[in-house]
């Protein structure tokens, strides 16, 4: 039964290493990532796996659950991380086929970073939209360290304030060439330059060279506006451990919303420019953006929330009416 006890040889002749932590082993070949765990194996297309892995690494395991697909993923406990097979899959759970192991976040992050570095070939950018990047299939060929070292950007107060996150110098994305780049007029009296502040938020976000990577732009205490440009499919299915909100600033995203625990479909949410919607604390969601679009993910960064939702102290729905 113990598949993982046998050292994996997957991909060795192709130049890829296998990576292991606890009783999980990961191997890749030309097309697939193979995950071996006590009790079985799981398989994913390697491009989808690397795009999901990129977000999990860059976000430090994010809020709640990062589902790579309907079977494999991680749950962030902010210090420790659970890596799982089938934990949020009705079929696996009903038949006791799920497997979970807990790791120190820093240990798992190190293994994930090593795997990402090893398996990402030259010319493939797991943060880019598929139309903007090359293929990752085939034998090992070079690397793309620069692309995978990008971190989630976090403003302390607001982008552009002295000492805070600086403006992006990248060009407007190819699909945002028609977004106005005009600057606001700022007339600060002497001594108030740090407070009288405005900037072109749309222009700033539309210069992002990554997709599905919310970065904090403005904060009101624990209230964070996390802006991101989206194109193609969200590479993970995010399982909420708190309520989050979406504000669609341009274009359109269609969200699949499924039950967080079972994966059963609950709704499809179509959001157009100006639409605002909550994502309850008991769902998972995956977005589809036909054209690159500007999305504001609005988060509450209060560290006590996961426990309050998990214990039932807070209802998963943000407003009662």
């Amino acid at each position: 039964m113990s598949t993982a006890a046998t050292p994996m040889t997957t991909g060795k002749t192709l130049g890829y290493k296998t990576h292991a932590i606890g009783s999980f082993q990961f191997g890749r070949d030309e097309y697939f990532a193979h995950i071996h765990y006590p009790g079985g194996r799981h398989i994913m297309q390697v491009d989808a796996f690397l795009r999901a892995l990129m977000r999990d690494v860059a976000w430090g395991f994010f809020y709640g659950t990062v589902n790579f697909d309907t079977v494999f993923g991680t749950v962030n406990h902010y210090g420790t991380v659970e890596m799982f097979i089938g934990l949020f899959n009705e079929g696996y759970r009903a038949n006791n086929r799920h497997f979970v192991e807990t790791f120190e976040a820093k240990d798992l992050k190190a293994v994930f970073e090593g795997m990402l570095e090893d398996w990402t070939n030259e010319g493939f950018d797991p943060f880019a939209a598929p139309d903007e990047t090359g293929t990752v299939y085939g034998a090992k060929k070079g690397n793309n360290s620069k692309a995978i070292k990008r971190q989630r950007l976090i403003a302390n107060r607001m982008v552009g304030l002295p000492g805070d996150l600086t403006f992006r110098t990248e060009p407007l994305n190819r699909q945002f060439q028609d977004v106005p780049t005009d600057k606001p007029e700022v007339h600060a009296e002497k001594g108030f330059e740090n407070e009288v502040h405005a900037f072109n938020f749309f222009d700033y976000v539309c210069r992002s060279d990554v997709t599905w990577n919310p970065s904090v732009v403005s904060c009101v205490k624990d209230s964070q506006f996390c802006a991101t440009t989206e194109e193609h499919v969200l590479p993970i299915t995010h399982g909420n451990d708190r309520v989050e909100w979406f504000i669609q600033a341009t274009d359109e995203i269609i969200w699949d919303v499924d039950d967080r625990a079972t994966g059963r479909p609950r709704a499809k949410v179509t959001m157009k420019a100006g639409d605002v919607a909550a994502m309850p604390a008991d769902i998972r969601h995956r977005g589809y953006s036909p054209k690159r679009s500007l999305l504001i993910v609005w988060e509450n960064n209060d560290a006590s929330l996961p426990q309050q939702y998990a214990s039932g102290k807070l209802t998963p729905y943000p407003v009662a009416f």
Partner: protein, 167 residues
């Protein structure tokens, strides 16, 4: 390279999406549209379109000149439509007690020092800094602002009027 046009919304021209329910209640998503909300609001009415415990996002119809507002914490505003000036004053006396949350409406322009002003258009974000008083001025067509703040005495909640209720 093919280039698709970027779609923005405005007060005159917006399309609203929807929640297509499979096994859920649409109220769980509190689905609204800031342009639709502002199209039915009074000038500078602060209508909550997002609420995460004490934090809110308000949709504001920016038409004419607003009252003077202040808060004891930072707030931020993002212009979704129109062109608006925001004027800032550092009041001689703190306009809002420390620790009070949400936007407070002042009865008049407070005595104090001018901090300056900004002119912002669609896509621009401005800081509404803690401890300042500020006033929105719009001499053009009505605009739409989103305000990132904390729920306060001026936050208007009318969810059943603004949100999708029927599956």
């Amino acid at each position: 390279m093919s280039m698709q046009k970027t779609t923005f919304g405005s007060l005159e021209n917006f399309e609203k999406g929807s929640v297509q329910v499979i096994d859920d209640n649409p109220k769980h998503y509190a689905f609204s549209n800031v342009f639709e909300v502002a199209s039915k609001s009074k000038p500078y009415e602060k209508v909550a379109v997002g609420k995460n415990l004490k934090y809110v996002i308000e949709a504001v119809r920016a038409e004419g000149t607003s009252p003077w507002f202040a808060a004891a914490h930072d707030e931020a505003t993002l212009v979704m439509d129109g062109e608006i000036e925001i004027h800032f004053v550092k009041p001689d006396q703190p306009p809002v007690p420390e620790g009070k949350e949400g936007t407070v409406r002042l009865s008049a322009e407070p005595k104090g020092k001018s901090m300056g002003w900004v002119k912002v258009r669609r896509g621009h974000m401005a800081l509404l800094p803690k401890g300042s008083a500020y006033q929105f001025r719009n001499t053009g067509k009505p605009g739409v602002l989103m305000v990132q703040t904390i729920q306060g005495e001026n936050t208007v909640e009318k969810w059943s009027e603004i949100c999708q209720i029927k599956p």
